[in-house]
């Protein structure tokens, strides 16, 4: 079944089509959820909520633009909506951009480790890092999405990078 037909069937509420669509995109969206969430359980919750939103709003998809892009945006928004409720997203702008940087080589760090580091970032840093670095949003967009200022967004990104760098550095030392 072509994607268009699949979507059309989903619009009619066809359960089999919904399952097929889920199977097709679950991996990508679950990866996205894992990056934006604190752990696997939370990611599963977010994936669940995202797919419900997708099936609920699939009527609104008018085949303009990429469907994958559309469902990714829904997933990111679903996750953000969840974390937006957490008050700690709002941070006072801190200028921590230029930290002393230790030169080191990246060892062959496992993907799961990198994922774990991102997941362990405080929510505000994790979301900003994901949005900016992995999903290509600008600070302006991020500030709008998270309801913060651009300065805060930059600061959060910087903090995130710093924390990740530290974690990787430690990992390198351990490996060495």
């Amino acid at each position: 079944m072509s994607l268009k037909k699949l979507i059309q069937h989903c619009k009619k509420g066809d359960r089999k089509a919904q399952e097929q669509l889920y199977r097709k995109y679950a991996s990508i969206l679950f990866g996205l959820c894992l990056k934006y969430s604190r752990n696997k359980t939370e990611a599963e919750d977010n994936l669940h909520d995202s797919f419900l939103t997708i099936f609920e709003k699939i009527d609104q998809f008018k085949f303009k633009g990429s469907f994958e892009g559309w469902i990714k945006r829904i997933t990111v928004n679903t996750v953000l909506q969840k974390y937006r409720k957490d008050q700690y997203l709002k941070l006072v702008t801190e200028n921590t951009e230029e930290e002393a940087e230790v030169d080191y080589e990246f060892a062959d760090i496992q993907l799961s480790t990198l994922l774990q580091y991102v997941q362990e970032l405080p929510t505000k840093y994790r979301l900003t890092f994901n949005l900016y670095v992995l999903d290509g949003y600008t600070h302006k967009e991020i500030s709008e999405m998270l309801g913060t200022s651009q300065g805060t967004s930059k600061s959060n990104l910087s903090r995130a990078r710093m924390i990740l760098r530290e974690r990787i550095k430690k990992e390198n030392i351990n490996i060495a």
């Binding site: 919904q18 399952e19 599963e44 670095v133 990787i168």
Partner: protein
Amino acid sequence: MKKKRIDKLYQEKLKDFGQIPDEHVWASIASSLDNKKKKRRVIPIWWRLGGVASVLAIVLFLVFQTGSLKTPETILTDTNNGPSSVSEEVEPVNPNDLEAFPKINSDVTTTTSNKSQDITSDTIELLNIPAIQVASETGQRSTNKPANRIPGVASEDLNSEKSNTTVANNTVGVSKTNDTIEDIKSERLIGNDRLDTRIVTADIQKNKSTAEKNLAEAAAEQIAMDATKSPRDLVSDKKVIDNTSVLVPEKNSKKSIFEDIPAEDVTELSETNDARWTIGPKVAPVYFSSLTQGSPIHSSFQNNAKSGNVNFSYGLSVSYNVSKKLQLRSGIHKVDYGYDTNDVSFSSSLNAATNSLINNIDYTLSSKNLVVKSVSSSAAKLASESAMDVAATDPSLDGRMIQEFGYLEVPVELTYAVFDRKLGLNVIGGVSSLFLINNSVILESEGIATQMGEANNINDVNLSTNIGIGFSYSVGDKMIINLEPMFKYQLNTFSNAAGNFRPYSIGVYSGLTFKF
């Protein structure tokens, strides 16, 4: 540069990172979608119910309207006996029978005068309008009605009224032009003149605050006086009236007739329409079963023992008294039905073949591996298998399959009151629309139940024909206690049932209804 390295590292490793989630995530999504679907399904049901309710409302409105149109006819006959008898008596008169007219006219006079008094007292009682106003109005009416009726005998009189000339002038003309019927016309003139005089009297009296009830009596006396006068005198009297320019405000007086009648009608209607509506809650234990041996689930269960379950129905009933004996009623009830298929065995199979699944059931994800069979058929199979492997233990569980489904029921029923006293007996008949809201098939064994799925052969909307007997007991003026054993035969519950499954339900509905 260094910060870019972190970004680059993550972008390389995590940008298109994907991972297949565990299977339970889809199960959870599917279950949430099911719940949403069920919730969503409620909306169209309410739309349909709304449709049914509005159709019902329109029907009731029409019935009500028809009733209200009929009622005034009787009221008119009752309250306006005088004038209607006048018309009945006067209309058959033709020029050949004119000799009879004087007598008729005197009858009219008597009736009218009597009636004017009756109406006066009736109207005071009914409308509670100040006595003065009522008296003056009834005075006018009692005079005007004959004035309108009598000219019907000679068309010229009617025309003269329409052209706003005075009654007196016109009647004079008539008496001059036709000598042969002079006597009769003079009698008519007596009538007209008498009436006009009374109208004038009424107009004058209108402004007075003295005992107006005497007006009718005075009018009656005046009529008696007029009756003794010769036509000539009447003509001269008439002229006097004309000369003094005391003209009858005919339009106003005509209006007063039409204004009066509806006023009485409304009063009568408000009395007769009392307590036409009743509303009240109802609850009933309902037993669901089938008239035949078939199975709603699968043909393999046709010969299994089956038993109906007793569930509950509850809801709100609204009824409208079409007549004293006949009542139209509807309402909305939530009703659950349950039906057990006994002696089934089920086991879990890793590779449950699709042909072992029951077509009429949409299995839940967790129950797709269940193989459900009739005990008799599985016993035969087991016997052949155990012959090959004596050591094999039977992995299957014996139990029963419980099918449950719930509806929103909207009945439209007529009840006919056989006895309509404090203790009443009614015969009830009608149909119900049933809207499916709950549907599940459960397997139960030794007290443990598992959700198997839901039947896909139950129609979303089906009908039942209802018949029953109702016992009612009035408690005071406004409340009735009801007890109604009902038999409901389901018409199209299943779209694909095996063995001619013919379901029915029996319920004993009890409730209170309140009149308003």
